[in-house]
Symmetry: C2
Subunit: 293 residues, 2 copies
């Protein structure tokens, strides 16, 4: 079964013939210009789909920018600016406040964009532009059997934060969900080392499977080696690996190499088997993460 | 009275501190990178606001791309690629068809983007990236008293096309509205010559007023010199000057200079008076064009 989104993207792929589009299979597009390589990404967020209807507009702004910067981080790119497409809503001032905070936090200027009125749900788009600090620019497709698999930080924090926010419990810190922090410094440090890199936006297992498929290998992960958010109950570890929004970097290193930043070794790359990802040696069933469309 | 959009943009302006953002007052942002100047623009279109609900999805795709390329044309930029933010709808295949046609027509590759499902009205965003062919890159703000005012082609065609499409008369060719043609070659030819340039997207009078305000001058236009679409009745000439979507280039030249492409001289730049635009010597009343927000 192909989802509507899958069919649409397959049709778009035939229009993305330039090498820098990477067949629309990567998080970013590359553009060689002058002596530099630009790294470009565009994400959209829709009210009721990507954020809770009553969520703070400042947090929506933060997340829109942070998730795009996370894509740049996975390329080891230094952000140079963003363009915003904004639908006017009930709390435009709150949105500007969050935008100011996130742009200041990561030292990124607003370059331009467009503002529209929308008769129904709000939708915002953001284009982030970065400058590659290392070439070739890391991709998802370079993992090789024998490589080690790493992640820059814990999973599960965003899941717990989302649930606390949704249930209004106030019991657990919600920042991990509301204000994720793109791993820009880590991405730049790692870019010269990695054989493959991507950010974990849709779930560790799902994004691992995507990296494995793009690289034509299998990623063999060990659940005991995966770092989890501090307050995560042991019973929810498997769920945390299938939940996205943590925006840590997942990467592979050649045998014997150790990362130039703090990170956790969570598995090994092996020859492609029947499943793109193995957890503790076993094929996984059910949804591996958040599938769009 | 400030519109919600006006207040929002005023707040954003304080975040757009980099010179290349041009204070969000121009159609495009500029980014110096690797010895080149990139020209960046992002426009959004919303169902029911920017297109008729029953309009052909292929035409929507065409217009989304063409209007952004028109912004690049006004900078004399050569397009190098686009990023698409797309909400899935009822005719995604039609959208891809139009996208293929417009990208092919103007020789522009799709670089990447994002696809989302939307619970309500569709909203699409497009970021177009171009390479400046002449520096300094033309802006709206360089017109000087004594300059001549020009336009690359007729106004009113899009208005007639829109009305024919809306009324289903089939009487008048609707292409001018459905499939505007960005003046990319003209923009590149003119960029080294002009003192100011912009595309006419919201109406000749309104966009002339914007250029005049940005340049701190008055544009004195002559209605008899303005080129009109062939089938436009004489009685509708004033309306045609207040209707947008024709995407011709409006520009000013230093005294004595003639343009390097086909164009019509429609007036002169004079010292700033009480009104930013004069038509046949008289200040104009009522809406000068399509005001957003």
């Amino acid at each position: 079964m192909t989802s509507p989104e899958g069919a649409f993207i397959a049709a778009l792929r035939s229009l993305a013939t330039t090498p820098g589009a990477r067949g629309l299979a990567d998080d970013c597009a590359l553009l060689d210009i002058g002596g530099e390589t630009l790294v470009l990404t565009h994400d959209m967020m829709v009210e009721g789909v990507h954020w809770l209807p009553d969520q703070d507009a400042a947090d929506v702004a933060w997340k829109l920018v942070a998730t795009n910067l996370s894509d740049l981080a996975a390329k080891g790119a230094e952000p140079v600016g963003v363009l915003l497409g904004y639908s006017l809503g009930v709390d435009d001032a709150g949105f500007v406040r969050g935008l100011r905070e996130v742009l200041h936090a990561f030292g990124v200027p607003l370059l331009g964009g467009d503002t529209v009125s929308s008769p129904a749900a709000q939708a915002h788009g953001l284009t982030a532009i970065g400058r590659a600090t290392h070439r070739p620019v890391p991709s998802r497709s370079g993992a090789r059997a024998g490589d080690s698999v790493w992640i820059t930080g814990p999973v599960g924090g965003a899941m717990l934060g989302f649930e606390a926010l949704r249930d209004g419990t106030g019991a657990i810190e919600t920042l991990a969900f509301r204000r994720p922090s793109p791993r820009l410094a880590e991405g730049r440090a790692l870019a010269p080392q990695v054989t493959a890199m991507m950010d974990v936006s849709d779930g560790l297992l799902l994004d691992s499977a995507r990296m494995a498929r793009a690289s034509r290998v299998t990623l063999a992960l060990e659940s005991a080696a995966v770092p989890y958010a501090e307050s995560l109950p042991e019973s929810r570890r498997n769920a945390a690996m299938r939940w996205g929004d943590d925006y840590e970097l997942l990467f592979t290193l050649p045998p014997g190499e150790t990362p130039q930043c703090s990170a956790y070794r969570i598995g090994a790359v092996v020859e492609a088997g029947p499943a793109p990802v193995l957890l503790d040696g076993a094929q996984q069933h059910g949804p591996l993460g958040y599938e769009h469309g």
